[in-house]
Every structure is written in structure tokens, then in C-alpha cells.
């Protein structure tokens, strides 16, 4: 197996990009990533394109080939990846496998979404599923986890609000964040209710956007300044066992444990984490699955500021999905973008001092009270 390196990252700000089309946004992010890597597009020998909503919203398929054509990249194998909120990070998982197996020397992952359109309702578990037809929408899933976590562990509304306040404070230091105006816990709890106990400022907004990464083998990395080592790429689907423990998310714990094992690292080795804070309670659950605290203590961890910049383990120094917005095809790539900037010590006022180990965590889909996918990627400089 070859070691795998991250050679370059690119991203356009996530916003409502009303005048732009997906293929152009994705092409721009991809060009930025190539430029960042210094690798000639002609050396890319495998490409992945990730998007969760394009086929549904536009009935448009095999979009990846259109994106890569813009960069003069053709003839090579290109794969179109859909895996709900982990579409982008699943692309990274596949690209890493290809490089490790010697099937590619340079593999790219590009992901994007053009979803700020009236037809886009709330995300759900899939229209043909009974749960969906009984009224399950994604915020409701997380609201029920929050209610259970509060009942079992005494997690409070104020602790959940602390996650949103912290991530927005981080976002104020990040020019790529969509929402950077500071908010207070009172603002969070007084924002319009979505699914009790979650209010609007506890739910990540959707966005249009695109991001890309260039990955390479150790041979190519030797010629590439500033390449970062990909120490682990882990991906688990759910077990869908009944009953599911909704306050201790088995699939989340399982994927995090696998990533630590692959990397030979433990939670205390991490300098920063970008995690899937699609909802405030999600970030709290992920702290526990990642082993940043004991089960049930995630709310306290957030409220004490331990996951804020300046604390022992900063989580979502970028501002997270809550501040960036969530175009699923690009989110997992945007998380790795932030890790790259931090591990190169180029994050400016939000730099985690001396960062050398970063972890990106992403989760997606809903089935039988479980997640359909969870990915964890660990990078070192």
C-alpha cells in the first residue's frame, strides 16, 4: 500500500449563488485545488465528483465528466458519488483507496451543490421510506436525539446554544464563512422554533457552493511542497439494529474508533476537529463518539469552552456547517480544506497554534433511527 497525501485544496465561499450554475462553481473550486497543489492537470489519473441533490433537483446525471472536462481532464476514470451529507467525504475515501492500491498516483475529488432553489424542501430519509411518509424530516431526527440526551444526561438548552455561539464566534475569524455575525445564547434560544428543542440558529442552513481536493501518492508528494499525510480514512454505514440508542450513536462511535485505530492515534493526540455540526446536538454527540469527553458530557464540554479556539481541543475553528452552510457534496471537502489551512499554519486569526494533527468527521442519511454513513479522515503535517 502506498501512503496517501493531500496535495492541494480549493473552495469557493458557500452562499446563495443565484447567478451561477453547479458545473462552473465546481470547476472553479477544482481549478483552485489544482493550482494550490502545483500539480499539472494532465497528471490526474482518477476523478470523483460528489453531489447529493443534483440528480433529484435537476435530473442531471454524470455531472462529474462535465466538471472535469472544464479542466482538460478526460479519458481517465471519473466517478459520480452520491452519499447524502457524506457525498464529498465518501469521494475522499474512494480516492484514498485508489491511491493506496496503486490504481492512481494523483486523484481528485470535486463536490458541489446548487440547492438554494424553491423545489428544495427539508432533507428526509428518502421519499419511499415509511419513516418519511410518517412525517420524519431530518431536523426532527436530531431533535429527538436532543430530547433523549437531555432526559438521560441532563444536557441543557444553554449547553446546546453554546455550540452555536462558539461556532459563530469562530466564523467571525473566517472570511470563507457565510454567517459571521456574533450571536448570543439568548439569540439562539429565541430564534424561531424548528423541531423542539431545536431552534433555527441550532440548525445549519443549506447553501450553494463547491470545494475540491487533490490527493497523491508518496512518490508524487515528494515533489509537492507542503503535502499533508492522510493518516486515516474510515467509513462505516449504520447497523440499523432495533432498538437504536439515540443518546449514544453506535455508528458514530464505531467509525471514530476505526479511524483512531487506522491512524495509530488517540483523541488526546488531536489538535483540532472539524465535525458535522448540522445541528447543535449533533456536535455534542460527536464529541462523545470522538472520545473528547465521556458519554453524556458533551454539553458540559461545549459550555466550558473546551472546544473553543484557545481551549484544549478546538472543534470547528472554521465555524462549522452552522456558519458555513451545508451543500452536502462539498461539505466533507470544505472540512478538509480547513484542516489543510490549519495544518499549514495559514489560518490567520483562527489558527490553532502549532496544529499538527487534524480530524474531519462527517455523517449523513437516516434509516431506522441510525445514520446511513459516517466518515472520519485524519491528517498530519
Amino acid at each position: 500500500m502506498s501512503d496517501v497525501y493531500l496535495a492541494g485544496v480549493g473552495m469557493i465561499p458557500f452562499r446563495v449563488h443565484k447567478e451561477r450554475i453547479l458545473v462552473d462553481m465546481a470547476g472553479e473550486a477544482a481549478a483552485l485545488a489544482l493550482q494550490d497543489s502545483g500539480i499539472d492537470p494532465g497528471r490526474v489519473d482518477m476523478g470523483f465528483f460528489a453531489s447529493a441533490t443534483t440528480a433529484v433537483l435537476y435530473k442531471d446525471v454524470t455531472v462529474g465528466q462535465n466538471v472535469y472536462w472544464q479542466l482538460g481532464i478526460n479519458r481517465i476514470p471519473i466517478f459520480n458519488v452520491e452519499n447524502a451529507c457524506t457525498s464529498g467525504s465518501t469521494g475522499i475515501y474512494l480516492a484514498c483507496n485508489a491511491i493506496a492500491a496503486g490504481q492512481a498516483e494523483v486523484a481528485m475529488v470535486v463536490g458541489g451543490e446548487k440547492m438554494c432553489v424553491p423545489e428544495m424542501g427539508l432533507l428526509n430519509s428518502g421519499a419511499t421510506e415509511l419513516d418519511t411518509q410518517l412525517g420524519l424530516v431530518t431536523p426532527a431526527s436530531f431533535a429527538m436525539r436532543a430530547a433523549r440526551h437531555m432526559a438521560e444526561f441532563g444536557t441543557t438548552l444553554e449547553q446546546m446554544a453554546a455550540v452555536a455561539v462558539k461556532n459563530r464566534r469562530h466564523a467571525a475569524l473566517n472570511p470563507m464563512a457565510q454567517f459571521s455575525k456574533p450571536i448570543s445564547a439568548e439569540d439562539v434560544l429565541a430564534s424561531p422554533p424548528i423541531a423542539d428543542p431545536l431552534t433555527r440558529l441550532q440548525c445549519c442552513p443549506i447553501a450553494d457552493g463547491a470545494a475540491a481536493v487533490v490527493l497523491c501518492s508518496s512518490r508524487v508528494a515528494k515533489e509537492t511542497a507542503g503535502a499533508l499525510r492522510v493518516r486515516a480514512w474510515a467509513y462505516c454505514t449504520g447497523d440499523y439494529q432495533n432498538p437504536q440508542d439515540m443518546a449514544r450513536w453506535g455508528t458514530d462511535y464505531r467509525t471514530c474508533a476505526k479511524a483512531y485505530e487506522l491512524a495509530g492515534l488517540k483523541p488526546g493526540d488531536l489538535d483540532l476537529v472539524e465535525c458535522h455540526d448540522a445541528f447543535t446536538i449533533a456536535e455534542i454527540l460527536h464529541y462523545e463518539a470522538l472520545g473528547l469527553c465521556e458519554p453524556g458530557q458533551g454539553g458540559r464540554l461545549a459550555a466550558e469552552g473546551q472546544t473553543a479556539l484557545g481551549g484544549p481541543i478546538p472543534v470547528n475553528p472554521s465555524g462549522g456547517l452552522l456558519s458555513r452552510g451545508h451543500p452536502p457534496g462539498a461539505t466533507g471537502l470544505a472540512q478538509v480544506w480547513e484542516l489543510a489551512v490549519q495544518l499549514r499554519h495559514q489560518a490567520g486569526p483562527r489558527q490553532v497554534p502549532g496544529a499538527s494533527v487534524g480530524l474531519a468527521h462527517c455523517m449523513g442519511g437516516d434509516k431506522d433511527g441510525d445514520s446511513k454513513s459516517c466518515t472520519v479522515i485524519i491528517l498530519t503535517n
Partner: protein
């Protein structure tokens, strides 16, 4: 009137509940694998653990509320606004199932409360036609007593 309308409506998904004529014996219907002794709701086409046949299985009508939420954004499928959802631990089979909660019970919901199954016209099906959905309503704390809750 309500009963007349209900009779004209079809279940949102066929085969997920049953009742004898007159509404007695209402229960959820799922599956049971006789080889693995596992229960399922809804009934899968085959047992994911042994790939064997799954028998149709009544799953009863009572349980305990494990967690819940009241959804306050625009509801899908013409459901009432707001509407409540919960996971319910069914009696007797160990299943934890997602269910709608009675629209009139929103201010009475509490984790651990006893629930019983009801069926009524609630929202529309995927084609937009009014349809029947199963939901859970508050039940007395001791199911054997058969009393109405005094709330």
C-alpha cells in the same frame, strides 16, 4: 362523519396496521423471523440476518414514549402544523418504532409516558389524497386497568 371519511381513506402504506370490523383489536403489523426470533416494523421482504422468510406478525398497540419532538416548520404530506413525532418502545417485542403522536396531545407529551395506537385520517399520501396514518395517543399508566388518562 369522521368514521365515514376514514372508511373511504386508504392507509398511507398498506399492511402496517390492522383492525377487525368495528375498530376492535387495532394493532401495528410488522414481521417476525421464526429462525432468528427477530421482530421487524415494517415487515421486510426477507430477514436481513438469515435471508429467510419473515412471517406477518401483530405487534400490539401499546408502548412507552422513548423520545419525541414537536415539528414546527411547514409539515410534509399535509400533516397538521405543528405535529409531533416520537420513538415508541412497543410492549412485548422490544421494538423501538417511529410514530406520529396524536395532534391533540402536543402539550401532554413526556418521555416515559404510556401510549396506545390509534388510526385516523391524518395528512395525505404521496399522491396528495387524504389517507389513514397510525399514530399514538396518551394511554393510562397501567394498561390492564383500561382507564382513560385523568389529564
Amino acid at each position: 362523519m369522521q368514521a365515514d371519511r376514514d372508511q373511504q381513506c386508504q392507509p398511507v402504506v398498506p399492511g402496517i396496521f390492522r383492525a377487525s370490523s368495528g375498530g376492535q383489536g387495532l394493532e401495528l403489523v410488522g414481521g417476525h423471523c421464526p429462525a432468528c426470533h427477530r421482530y421487524y416494523f415494517p415487515r421486510p421482504p426477507r430477514c436481513p440476518y438469515c435471508l429467510g422468510q419473515v412471517e406477518e406478525q401483530g405487534l400490539g398497540a401499546t408502548g412507552t414514549l422513548y423520545t419525541y419532538t414537536v415539528v414546527r416548520v411547514r409539515p410534509p404530506y399535509g400533516l397538521p402544523s405543528p405535529y409531533a413525532l416520537g420513538y415508541v418502545d412497543l410492549d412485548g417485542n422490544g421494538l423501538r418504532v417511529l410514530g406520529l403522536l396524536a395532534p391533540e396531545s402536543l402539550d401532554k407529551l413526556e418521555i416515559g409516558m404510556r401510549l396506545r395506537l390509534a388510526v385516523g385520517q391524518l395528512g395525505c399520501d404521496v399522491g396528495g389524497a387524504p389517507c389513514l396514518r397510525p399514530y399514538f395517543e396518551p394511554a393510562p399508566p397501567h394498561p390492564s386497568q383500561g382507564m382513560q388518562p385523568d389529564v
